[in-house]
Symmetry: C2
Subunit: 191 residues, 2 copies
Amino acid sequence: MNKPVQARTLKTRAKLIDAAKAVVAESGYEALRVEEVVQRAGVAKGTFFAHFRDKDALMDQLLGAQLREILDDIAAGPQPRTAAEMVTALAPLIAFATSERYVFDVVIRHSGAAAITEIGPIALAFEQQFRLSLQWVTHPDLPVRDDIPPELLAEGIGAFLIQAISLAFCALHSSVSVEERLEPYLRAWLR
Amino acid sequence: MNKPVQARTLKTRAKLIDAAKAVVAESGYEALRVEEVVQRAGVAKGTFFAHFRDKDALMDQLLGAQLREILDDIAAGPQPRTAAEMVTALAPLIAFATSERYVFDVVIRHSGAAAITEIGPIALAFEQQFRLSLQWVTHPDLPVRDDIPPELLAEGIGAFLIQAISLAFCALHSSVSVEERLEPYLRAWLR
DNA sequence: ATCTAAAATTGACCATGGTCAGTTTAATAG
DNA sequence: CTATTAAACTGACCATGGTCAATTTTAGAT
């Protein structure tokens, strides 16, 4: 039933991930080149693609892990009691998602799982974000409208978050910060 | 002040666009190859990139034109009087945006203008969609909440539209159609 | 220890988007 | 008509993601 995975495999995979993280730390996500990663990891190019379906799959791992960390931090923080506090709590997530245009593109591309059997880290992070929003919205300290199911409310928060972030990359709407844009959305949505 | 654009230029550009449209008609957007386009247009590869910054810029033109047509059609239709009617009116837009995963990706990537001086067709289509929503929302036949500015209401419609479409590509949420998902969002948002 | 099959790895090779120095064509001046 | 200059065009070349038949390594059986 289980696949017999060799220790060698895990080691190679770790070398690739470590090399990739080093490249990202030095030059950012967009500048990452597969060739650079495999050279640092000391493996052949083909090995990379034996471990990751494509370059995007590596990005899924890297970005998903980062998102997970950020969300864990947010979840460990206090329960927001207003829309404004919710925006403040989400600030680290917004900062990361807007740090590079490329990051946002990749995140969007992986936000939905392509298939049930292969839910990637980024898709999981979106689920985590949804659950966190759901938790916030059902907490008594945050007064919200009660005429719609909390699940819908939580999904809406996600929709406005994406909207606010994507407008950050738009020259037409760059006069206000993402946070300033998100807050009125959430206030109106949560009523 | 004006740039002296030669008739030859327009002709070459038209040949490229026509060739691209033919390829898309035959095989879809994702299958489009620059090499194929230039061969059909009878020009060299370099010429393509003298006319379009990159392949994405061509896609911006093609998809933007298509979106504009669809939005013009929708605008020519009747004023929706309920959230359900609004979803019905938006159906052609949804159908196009979900026709290919690649289409959605490109549209998202161009949804915001990268710079004030170069607002592409897709960004314009988003503006058009916003204005149409604004028109709908300020029409007396559609009863909506009046505690928030109509501009915010219109932007929210856009946010939920994107959310519903992006969930269409998500295996985790594929049990319901985009329209079925969008309607409760809009009902709740418009109150 | 040796054999064997499966897993892991390799690197030459391919596909495709994108670049640019050099060439051709068109517009304008004299 | 010819010279001059700027615009348009060309295609060889590059950059980079991705493939795959061949090779090496590992785990397990005898």
